[in-house]
Symmetry: C2
Subunit: 304 residues, 2 copies
């Protein structure tokens, strides 16, 4: 296995070795661990030099948008998808509870507010989750004791544990799933089809005590439309770990909304990620050596 680009972190190389990989130069490798979060040109150079010999590319990160153009059908691609599911799902629940209990306003106050009426229970709430991947699987587990009425929207609407229903992703199905939800959670991969999925029209299907949580990618949500919905009180609050644009520039109107909590893409911090990522790479190298299916393979046609 080759590891690139130059200067890749030692712990990633060690994770590969722990799985049984022998680290060799690119032209001798049958597999490549490419550790740069955003260097598709560098990757293309290596792929060209390596040629057909290179059968498998492991990208460590979950989101591989920068590499979509570099993907090819000639090899197996795998990425870190699912690795971050545990911490990100936990973050999603944190933002959901924080928004439903209006921690946004309380955290920013320096007096004992007497709102009284603020806040709703998650228990028994109607929750709609866009996306049916690893984050959603974990989130469904965490939501279990709250006895929510959960709808999951996903491309392949196969049954999932611990949710009332799974529906497909036609416009009509999405609309129907969002209508009247107390909490709308965005937890899907970003593709051209899902960009701008949550727009003014869909936000209007929610109600004035609904909250929106985004732990996927900022561009799933039309930011200006979300600002309008929050500002006018048409929805109660939002919790965003991702934004569009990202990083959110100082002075952006999202910052001044009292009913929006923004965390700077920390659903999964480097400290949380490192051991999980290392484990995935070690595991996949072991699988590659023993000829078992890899975890987190990329659907090249779908782009995630």
């Amino acid at each position: 296995m080759a590891v690139g680009p130059t200067g890749s972190p030692e712990w990633l190389r060690e994770a590969a070795e722990a799985g049984g990989a022998e680290i060799v130069p690119e032209h001798l490798a049958s597999a490549l661990l490419w550790t740069a979060p955003d260097d598709p040109d560098g990757l293309r150079d290596v792929l060209e030099r390596a040629g057909e010999r290179l059968e498998w590319v492991q990208l460590p990160w979950a989101g591989i948008e920068p590499y979509v153009e570099a993907l090819d059908q000639d090899r197996i691609w795998s990425c870190g998808k699912g690795v971050y599911a545990e911490p990100v799902a936990e973050h999603a629940l944190t933002l959901m509870l924080a928004a439903m209990r209006c921690l946004d306003r309380y955290a920013r106050s320096s007096t004992w507010l007497q709102y009284g009426h603020l806040g709703v229970n998650l228990k028994g709430a109607k929750v709609t989750i866009l996306g049916g991947g690893g984050i959603t699987e974990v989130l469904l587990r965490l939501l279990g004791p709250f006895e929510c009425d959960v709808t999951v929207v996903r491309n392949h609407p196969v049954a999932m544990d611990r949710c009332a229903r799974v529906v497909g992703s036609t416009d009509r199905e999405i609309d129907s799933a969002i209508r009247g939800a107390d909490a709308l959670v965005v937890a899907l991969a970003l593709t051209p089809r899902t960009t701008g999925l949550v727009d003014a029209r869909r936000l209007a299907l929610l109600h004035d005590r609904s909250v929106v949580v985004n732990v996927a990618r900022g561009s799933h949500v039309v930011t200006d439309d979300l600002v309008d919905a929050l500002e006018s009180g048409r929805i109660m609050g939002a919790g965003l770990d991702v934004t569009d644009p990202e990083p959110l520039p100082p002075g952006h109107s999202l910052w001044r909304l009292p009913n929006c909590i923004i965390t700077p893409h920390v659903g999964n911090t480097p400290e949380m990620a490192r051991p999980l990522l290392a484990e995935r790479i070690t595991d996949n190298v072991r699988r590659w050596i023993s000829g078992t299916d890899l975890i987190g393979t990329v659907d090249v046609a779908a782009g995630y």
Copy 2:
């Protein structure tokens, strides 16, 4: 059943009637629904006038400190304890997650902070809960999917579902339960013995990524000691729904701590409470009429 004092909310009276109570003047009643949150003198007057005929007093609220001196062994006392368990336990989890994920600092920021290192997972954390009542029972259920290592401290250390261990409340047992905890949750009744339970010495048993959550009464925690621990970074954060003093006056040092989230005693808002409270009263009236044990009876000797 009599309902007092004058001006009691109509919905409380209706809840009693829904259980089958006939509302009568005090001197004809065998039971009393006393709805004032803090009027022990008014209650004493009624009890004196009513005499022995009055066998049962229902106080609607969960915390009955104002009435401790008015309790007597001549009758059955019941209160709202346990009623608020669901929303308060949910609030406790909200504050715990918010503190562990440092929403305190993020919520107050109006720029995209690049802390990176902030935040820890609840998953698998060592959690210590002081108190083994209704809130704790619900919280244990909510914590289930996080696979935490949970210790519950309570006066009567009988086994509880979904926690690793239940220990008694000697000083030594409390110290040992708190030592090294990632999250310390205060969820017990306030008695002279538990006032100031969490002081500088006990906070020193925690570590620099620990969080403290209080959803019980402010006086369980020595406020100045908590301020010191938070300010010096000896613990990572705190989430408080109750404070001492309460309401927390403007300018109090707790307000200026970046690593403390304060909510103004809203674990259970009036909107959340009303249906639960009404249900409890209706249920207890039914039980009284049918001769079944009441729910939420007060241990008069223990004072809660």
